[in-house]
Structure formats: structure tokens, C-alpha cells
């Protein structure tokens, strides 16, 4: 592994990008699913029933985690760019990831 790749900033940038790509792929499907409401509550319920399978429940938790992670790591980028913060990158990355995981866990416990 290249030394610079072990830096917290690299890990943060990689996770930020991967979560962003995952969200971009998911978004059109999410919008199409929500648009089933146009065909009535029954059509939407049939779709919601499909999302109750374990695989899709897992994917749902992963997507909430990806959304939370993309948000918190994005806030880190905005803070670095727009606030006089230049140090403590490791702490900022850890805080971002911890906040994202906390949101994911709240969702997971809520779902369960």
C-alpha cells in the first residue's frame, strides 16, 4: 500500500467517493419506486413487500449508512474549505465516520 494511501484524508476521500457513486446508482431506482404511488397505494404496497426480503433490508441499511457517510464526510470537506480548519484530519475523519455509523445503527435498531 502506498504510504499516502494510509493517510486518514485518503481513506475519507475514497469512502466519500464510493458512497457518492453508490447513491448516484441507487437514486433513479429510488425515484422510480416512489413514483409507483402514482398508480395507487396498492401498487406501492406490492413494491414495499418486496423490500422486506433480508437481502433488500441489508441493502437498505447499507444505503442509509452510505447516505449518512456521504453527508458527514461532505461536511468535513466543507469545513476544511470554508472554515479555518487545517489540522486534526484524523479526528475529523473519525468523527465523520462515527456520526455516520451512529445514524446507521439508529436506523438498524429502528428497523429491527
Amino acid at each position: 500500500m502506498i504510504a499516502s494511501h494510509r493517510q486518514p484524508g485518503f481513506v475519507a476521500a475514497l469512502l466519500h467517493r464510493l458512497s457518492g457513486v453508490a447513491l448516484a446508482v441507487f437514486l433513479p431506482l429510488h425515484f422510480l419506486a416512489l413514483a409507483t404511488a402514482l398508480r395507487g397505494a396498492d401498487a406501492m404496497d406490492r413494491l414495499l413487500a418486496i423490500t422486506q426480503t433480508p437481502v433488500l433490508k441489508f441493502a437498505e441499511v447499507a444505503l442509509v449508512l452510505a447516505l449518512a457517510m456521504h453527508m458527514t464526510l461532505g461536511l468535513r470537506v466543507l469545513a476544511i474549505e470554508f472554515l479555518p480548519i487545517r489540522e486534526r484530519t484524523a479526528a475529523a475523519v473519525s468523527l465523520s465516520l462515527a456520526a455516520a455509523v451512529a445514524i446507521g445503527l439508529v436506523f438498524l435498531l429502528n428497523v429491527g
Binding site: R17, L48, L67, L78
Partner: protein
Amino acid sequence: MLFVAQRATAFVLAFAVAVHLATIIYAERGGLTAAEILARTQGNGWFLALYLVFVTAVAIHAPIGLRNVVREWSRWRADSLDLALAAFSILLLILGVTATLAMFIP
């Protein structure tokens, strides 16, 4: 220009995504049948406005982010990349607005 648009929408999205995450968690508690969801959303003007802003910001933010990733991780830098992502932006906007109106307009 793209950088400014990306950062400006990021500020909007920071707020919108935080609200959306809270809504997702609340919605799971409030019940996830279509009737329960639509009863909460339909006729809610404030949330309709918020989600229309959310969808518009996403339709700008996501393609610019993808453009950065594709340009860094691949050799695709031609005009066709910008065209493809402009099309993706329009697709997101159309699908997003349709989904929002479906959820919030009775």
C-alpha cells in the same frame, strides 16, 4: 463554475439530507404501509417544497461528483462524458420531481 455549483448544492444537501435521514428513521416507526406513508406526506406543503429543492440540488450535485470520479479514475474526458452526465442530470430531475409530486400531491 462546476466547483461553485457543487459546493453550493452541498450546503443545501447537508441540511436536506439531515432532514431526510431523520424522516427515514421516523417513517420506519410510524409504519411503512403505502397508506401510512401517503397519509403523512400528501398535502404537506413544506415538505413538498423541501423535497423539490432537495431533488433539484441532487440533480446538480450528483452528476458533477460523478464527473470528477470518472475523470480521475478513467480516461473518459471527452465531450461525450459531459453530455452523458447532462443527460443523467435531466433524468434525475425528471424522475425526482415525478416521485416528489407522486408522494406529496393528493
